[in-house]
Symmetry: C2
Subunit: 592 residues, 2 copies
Amino acid sequence: MSTGIAALDALNAAPLEEACARLDGLYEHSPWIVRAALARRPFATPAALICACADVVDQAPLEAQLALIRAHPELAGKAMVAGTLTAESTGEQSRAGLTHCSPEEFAALQRLNAAYNARFGWPFILAVRGPRGTGLTRAEIIATFERRLHAHPDDEWRECLRQIHRIAEIRLHDKLGWEPTAGHAVWDRLAALARHSEDAGQLTVTYLSEAHRACAAEIAAWMRDAGCDAVEIDAVGNVVGRYAAAQPHARWLLTGSHYDTVRNAGPHDGRLGIAVPLAAVRALHARGERLPFGIEIIAFAEEEGQRYPATFLGSAAVAGAFDPAWLALTDADGVPMADAMRGAGLPGTMDAIAACERDPSRYLGFVEVHIEQGPVLAAANRPLGIVTGINGSVRWLGEYTGVACHAGTTPMTQRRDAAAGAAELVLAVERLARAHPGTVGTVGILDVPSGSINVVPGRCRFSLDLRAPTDAARDALAQVALSEAHAIAEQRGLTLTLRETLRAAAAPSAPAWQARWERAVAAMGVPLHHLPSGAGHDAMMLHRILPQAMLFVRGENGGISHNPLESTTSDDIDLAVQAFARLLRDLAAETV
Amino acid sequence: MSTGIAALDALNAAPLEEACARLDGLYEHSPWIVRAALARRPFATPAALICACADVVDQAPLEAQLALIRAHPELAGKAMVAGTLTAESTGEQSRAGLTHCSPEEFAALQRLNAAYNARFGWPFILAVRGPRGTGLTRAEIIATFERRLHAHPDDEWRECLRQIHRIAEIRLHDKLGWEPTAGHAVWDRLAALARHSEDAGQLTVTYLSEAHRACAAEIAAWMRDAGCDAVEIDAVGNVVGRYAAAQPHARWLLTGSHYDTVRNAGPHDGRLGIAVPLAAVRALHARGERLPFGIEIIAFAEEEGQRYPATFLGSAAVAGAFDPAWLALTDADGVPMADAMRGAGLPGTMDAIAACERDPSRYLGFVEVHIEQGPVLAAANRPLGIVTGINGSVRWLGEYTGVACHAGTTPMTQRRDAAAGAAELVLAVERLARAHPGTVGTVGILDVPSGSINVVPGRCRFSLDLRAPTDAARDALAQVALSEAHAIAEQRGLTLTLRETLRAAAAPSAPAWQARWERAVAAMGVPLHHLPSGAGHDAMMLHRILPQAMLFVRGENGGISHNPLESTTSDDIDLAVQAFARLLRDLAAETV
């Protein structure tokens, strides 16, 4: 982690002109960005400098942003062929193998360049070194190009700027001789773990499958390798590694996340929250360092609810919230959960599962690192985010019923159009959720059953999903939304049926623990970015017994989630490892 | 038609108190209605008196309307059991067999009475003598009761008033000794024709099926029986009956409608427009009367487009608009149309079909009688409606594309929700169509493909159907609607695709022919009610070669269409026969 620190220190100390010269070419033909950003020296990390540059660009007029985008060459374009690329671009395009395209690949790239430019009016920009810094293949580049060609111009504008900052980050590391060693190591471990899958060609690891058990064994080996004193697989399949404190009988810091996946998943969802703390423990162990508290890392066996109609099986057991009825649930093949457990060599009894429950008095608290699974940090150009809490949620399935009638012969004034009622509700939900920062409201299912082009809809089915940072905010939003839903029915003469299908309590971060994350992130020189978690996490379950707080790591590709494109960069991972280590150090100082 | 004319004349001439006494009990415990309506004497027909009464009720305060509704007894309720019904109600409930319910039927009616009263706060009202005046079965009564129990209170309020006027109409006929002889005859003929069906237990007659050919044969027999001089089945299966003029070489009045049906149809759609003119011809023939023009009645073989993906086959042939490509279209079993024609004993050649085209110079014009297939006349309490034209229409299938993303983690400000875009369009279409009287706009298909409760919709499919009285009005509406659809896409960052699937020209009624219908209806003493036709009709095809105008007959059950409940009453049919006869007489006077 420390190879480039001296260079960064020198940069911080250098006169402005010299610093500008050292960073020449960081942003393609656009030295004004670095020059302005350097006013915010000193930078604790390269990421801090890139954040400052991103802020400069964000505050620049749109014309300047467009000029920056247009300063970039096309991939394998005329400038490459003519040899007029900047030194940096030449290296990047050549390292990505773009100078050795097959005629077909070259033709494809020319076609894509033309189509992209025609659609957006600027060149396609992609950090061809990729999230691991090792380079995308030409096939990956072409696939990304194809995908982004269909994006909305506003989104693509933002994505180009994100790629420009990513390119600058990689160039900066080259200039500084900086290597995110720990980040690369985590990235490589997660890539290796993703070998285990139920489905060929994509990543799927559901509860207690063969791939799942292989993952557990591999994670247990990591834990031992990192220096954990004790490693075990518990009765629900959680892999638990403990790194003891300096003194016996000291309390523990609990951390971790899940290792199961959705179908066709990305490699970092959940698993990042296992590997990041392990990297910090490995560093402690390498230095022979013990803290005033023990570190217990749990790789939770199940969070995604893919195999059985229940979620958070692993963290529920630890929180003492495992419902005995779950053991009788069956999967798609009719296998009861208890049988699946026994098949995996676990006891499959409630007694054994109940024994997983932790005694809160033995623990300081719970922290979880997780990929954001959303677009917020990417849009804000921040590598890490402070989670203020996990939103509470409530869901309904509903239906408006009116009168199906002839679309030609029924005057507008004599209709009871169920779809028009649902349309009003969709817009009301959007308006209400927009009015309350941090809340979201979604109608994800919308369907006129057997709808016909010439029949006024007599029925319209819909779903409603509301989430808010606190239970009170969620309930207030729900009350207004439902009251609008009923008012729409009343006013339009429709019948409304609603069935609540889920109600989950909010899990606000414990202020003291959120503050610890804030100090750790601030120590990286990275501006704090607070956000709620709209998705559920294991921390929600641990919230029942312990104070908790989460750290989010920025997602690439617009924060796409539950998708093979879901990824973080090894640079952002490295920063998360450093932040985790910093949290441990500060906590040690507090605890002593 | 004339049995009660003397009694009506007497009523028109009687002093007010005597007239009120004669009509005592017409409206249950509510003599104020008749008293006020009698101010509009003389009445040309019983229907004119009922229209006047309906206007009195419509103009009364809502409290008075509710009191009228509440003045009615429950069906098989306490008053019937206690023997305290009015004489009229006693006769009606007993004739409907309600005094001889089985214990199960009686229990069902008590349960329905209680549920209905709890829901609406007034008693269920139904003219148990039914549309033919001969009485509904107890099973039909219970089925109607069950159905209406689920209606909206506003709609049910209107339906109760409609039933009250229908009950009054039947009571009036009893008092006058009035018998709608021609209406009953048409009703009975259509009931007999509905024996022929492809599906057991429901009415389905598609092009050239066995049932279709049986219908053609039966209609040909009606035509001969009514006194047509020449009857033939032409090359597309149209049944053509001609009643010659007084002089050879005179021109012809063309009339008719279609005899094919949708699946599970009502018995009056299309066929009413064959049987009503035939009833008028039958009366002429019975009197040995010839007019200065011939009458050509065509039972069109196909209008509904059920068997082949083409519509108006019969009238298209007559209008010279039969597309030769249609002969190669195949039905669901792969049978080409030409083969189906030959199988039905028709030539199946384009030459033969082309020969069906009429020479417009030989015709005065085209008139068509049709059931409304909408709720307008029922809501307005008018038995007949003057059609101002057949609306032009245009249809699209469309899709908004945004970005599917996590409903929990994507802030409201970073969404591209395709369903929210479609919702805006649904409401925009509603607003635009409402702003232009006579136009309608419908989104009948609305669907988020594979929508999920926790995913922001990335796609939303929809249909758009716009109709307006003139092509110019349709195009103006279409332009605004499409421009809003694109503006929504622009504003929300969505992609919009639209595919036009249909564009049909408007067919405004020829003013001179519309005026003839107006005079004929006015002669019945019935207030004129003008309305556009939102549905397509054979007259749309004939519009290409002849001036045309249509007469609508009120539909029962809220104007429900393409449904076994679709029906007119024999009283309204009788009025249509009288109006048709009147149109013939006036036209004869003009033509001489």
